[in-house]
Symmetry: C2
Subunit: 145 residues, 2 copies
């Protein structure tokens, strides 16, 4: 409920487990930005007895270590990105898919914002919304609820 920044603050000691390795590999192998459950399913193909809890725990740890990125994307489900560097994303309003935006801006508005708020400004998230190719009404075909 309450966001907790440093769950792995001391990052004590981490062991190299097959689970963690495979999760990282699978995440880096895809260009989409999968949900925890999607990653779980991919990893399950290689480690059948892995549990969803382990996937969550490792995604947590890996992002705390800066090896992956927990996407700060609007919407209900968390998504993860094998590329830990911050970059803009675009999300499909229809199906929720998330893709990278292959164009980067250097708009750093944080200074302007810092002057206008009493928060200590730390970062900015730029997200675009739209309709992905798969959801676009090609010629006419649509399925409605």
């Amino acid at each position: 409920m309450v966001p907790n920044m440093q769950k792995h603050a001391g990052l004590a000691q981490t062991r190299t487990t097959r689970q963690r390795q495979v999760i990282l590999e699978e995440l880096r192998q895809v260009t989409c930005h999968p949900t925890a459950d999607a990653i779980y399913q991919r990893v399950q193909a290689r480690i059948p007895r892995i549990s969803l809890g382990t996937v969550y725990r490792n995604l947590d740890l890996l992002s705390a270590q800066g090896q992956i990125q927990r996407l700060e994307i609007a919407g209900s489900q968390m998504r993860f990105d094998g590329n830990a560097a911050p970059h803009p994303h675009i999300r499909c309003l229809e199906c929720g898919a998330v893709a990278d935006v292959p164009c980067h801006f250097d708009v750093l508005l944080t200074d302007a914002v810092q002057a206008a708020t009493d928060f200590a400004v730390l970062g900015q998230i730029i997200e675009f919304t739209g309709i992905c190719p798969a959801c676009q009404p090609e010629t006419c075909l649509r399925q409605e609820a």
Copy 2:
């Protein structure tokens, strides 16, 4: 699970109920950007028997009608804004509080993004992150988990 854009597409007919009125009033009365539950608690003071389900249903309806805004904010809980016009927000990484950023930019990057993606670009969300005044380590006082 799958985002559904037009749950209230036909917006058939809407009756004016006290519940809906009060929810809208309360939301417009606050400058913070409350979660559904926070709104529920405020409204409860005036309509004790209201249910959380009703609050959710009305927030849904009101945002579909464009009377309020369902905030596309990263993080676990939905938040709502009595101001339906899109504008930037800043979120506290510590406590999750969301505030308006009283400074607006006209950075419309959608054209550039449209050229770089095969999505149909519809909108952009600019969100800042930081630490709110209440969570800042004034002199030294902090409470950790």
